[in-house]
Symmetry: C2
DNA sequence: GGCAGCGATACCCGGCCGGTATGGATACCG
DNA sequence: CGGTATCCATACCGGCCGGGTATCGCTGCC
């Protein structure tokens, strides 16, 4: 199976339309049809069922779509990393969620910079989907949060685990409580909504926010409530209160890297991170 | 980058010899040289340094070799799984180390079989390198042991963690001890040697064994000593003694599966495994 | 200095990838 | 109910590229 075939198949499987897929690939439709047919023939299984009006995936097709996407990502990552490794380990790229664990990040960078043999670390701040830059090779390491960020296909080490707090305006009826349960909060109409992995928002009446700055502004305006890791306490603004949510799932801050990364620098960074996470 | 190019590059990088690599690939040497040169040109980096007497890897080449092997494995796995998914989820293949955690395995199979919607489970017993069948698609799930088996690039759940014991002939001078430290055992000349991941054996004077049956036989013959997870106690033969090694690293039995495996059956099996591991 | 080994280069051929034109099936519409 | 638009498959053709053989150039080594 060649990556060309895989690219073509993924395009068709995503569009479920040969014409549009061919368009997206920048080729004509007939060669695309032919290539898919050849692929199916060589695999010995049908990947798509097509009537002349509708294309849909078979089981085998669905499986191949999943794996194919991962493979194409890995190929892109391999190319990028091979190019990057050419100029003698020029530095690391660390991805982190903007506004995430700022203090931990700062400590990590400082501690690593003090290591003998440390290389320059570039920080790549992303709004969401922190794992994406790891999978396509734009970053070498990432700080992520379980269970929020998918860590599938990555190697991880847990750095810190913490409970969660409900962050709300100090004027909120629940702000006086010593502690809350998830049920108290989850049904609130002003519960802020975060983007799903696909970029859309879940249903609900709360405001839609994309990052912590927006959220905090909304909370301080009295228009939102959210459940966040305890560390968010350190960033509270005027007029905001945090109340522990005792039965909320515990959140782990993890450091993650792609498997098969034998880079000395990544190994050092992970060691430093896990090392000082224990004493702090 | 096409998988053909990657296959060719990996062959050359492993052989460090264009002629032998071409032979292994079943093609002539000139097209191979040309393909590698094209790949380097497109990537914009040198992957190999060749004098007319010696071929060696550059940094970029070493990086690409690692990732390339993983990608080729993933491609093979994708093909196999696509073929497998064709006949409507015919069953699961579970890989486990032969003689490993037999009792846990039996309980797992029983518990899963009792689940509603359970599919037939085929057990693939392997001598070593349990992760290999997962990576190339021959198995869907595996029981592995951390830190012995590499779990890089896999998703895992820990099932059980246990200490280790030194297994030795009852006649051994240390057999009377209530407990031992690693230092007491690691320097023994009769310490059995296991294959490394590459199939070779480490240096030492102890016997070379390939599986538990061989090892136990050697121990009962008075010719070997080994450090094993506690569970090995249940399988001791006549004339063998197990003594706890208090400072040995704790060993975790984990259930592992390839990332991006959305199969219902795998999810069920993992749930069952983690569920009863807690109560047992 | 001759020779053996190895990778690079030169050149040719055939297959395959991509293009255009067209066919056949199906849903939709007047 | 026939016409039409849409969409995938088929037929056919041309150019590129992947693979082959022959050979060159370089480098250790006896």
């Amino acid at each position: 199976m060649e990556t060309r075939e895989l690219r073509y198949f993924v395009a068709v499987a995503e569009e479920l339309h040969f014409g549009r897929a061919a368009d997206r690939l920048g080729i004509a439709q007939p060669p695309l049809s032919r290539t898919i047919a050849q692929l199916e023939h060589r695999l010995g299984v049908a990947l798509l069922t097509r009537t002349s009006r509708k294309v849909s995936l078979t089981n085998a097709g669905a499986a191949l779509l999943d794996e194919g996407r991962a493979i194409l990502g890995a190929v892109a990552a391999a190319e990028r990393r091979a190019r990057g490794a050419a100029d003698d380990e020029p530095g690391l790229v660390l991805a982190a969620k903007a506004g995430g664990s700022g203090e931990l990040l700062a400590k990590l960078l400082d501690a690593y910079a003090a290591e003998p043999g440390a290389v320059p670390v570039e920080v790549l701040l992303v709004e969401s989907r922190v794992h994406a830059p790891l999978l396509d090779g734009r970053a070498d390491v990432a700080l992520m949060h379980q269970p929020y960020d998918p860590t599938t296909g990555l190697d991880v080490e847990v750095l810190r685990t913490e409970g969660q707090v409900a962050v709300m305006p100090s004027s909120h009826p629940l702000a006086g409580a010593a502690q809350l349960r998830l049920a108290d909060v989850s049904s609130l109409p002003e519960l802020a909504r975060w983007p799903e992995p696909d970029g859309g928002y879940p249903d609900g009446s709360g405001v839609e926010v994309r990052n912590l700055t927006q959220l905090f502004q909304m909370v301080s305006l009295g228009r939102a409530v959210a459940v966040l890791p305890e560390i968010a306490r350190t960033a509270l603004l005027e007029g905001m209160t945090a109340v522990p949510v005792v039965d909320a799932e515990r959140v782990s801050t993890v450091i993650a890297w792609p498997p098969h990364s034998r880079s000395r620098a990544v190994a050092d960074l992970v060691r430093v991170a896990t090392g000082f996470a224990e004493v702090s």
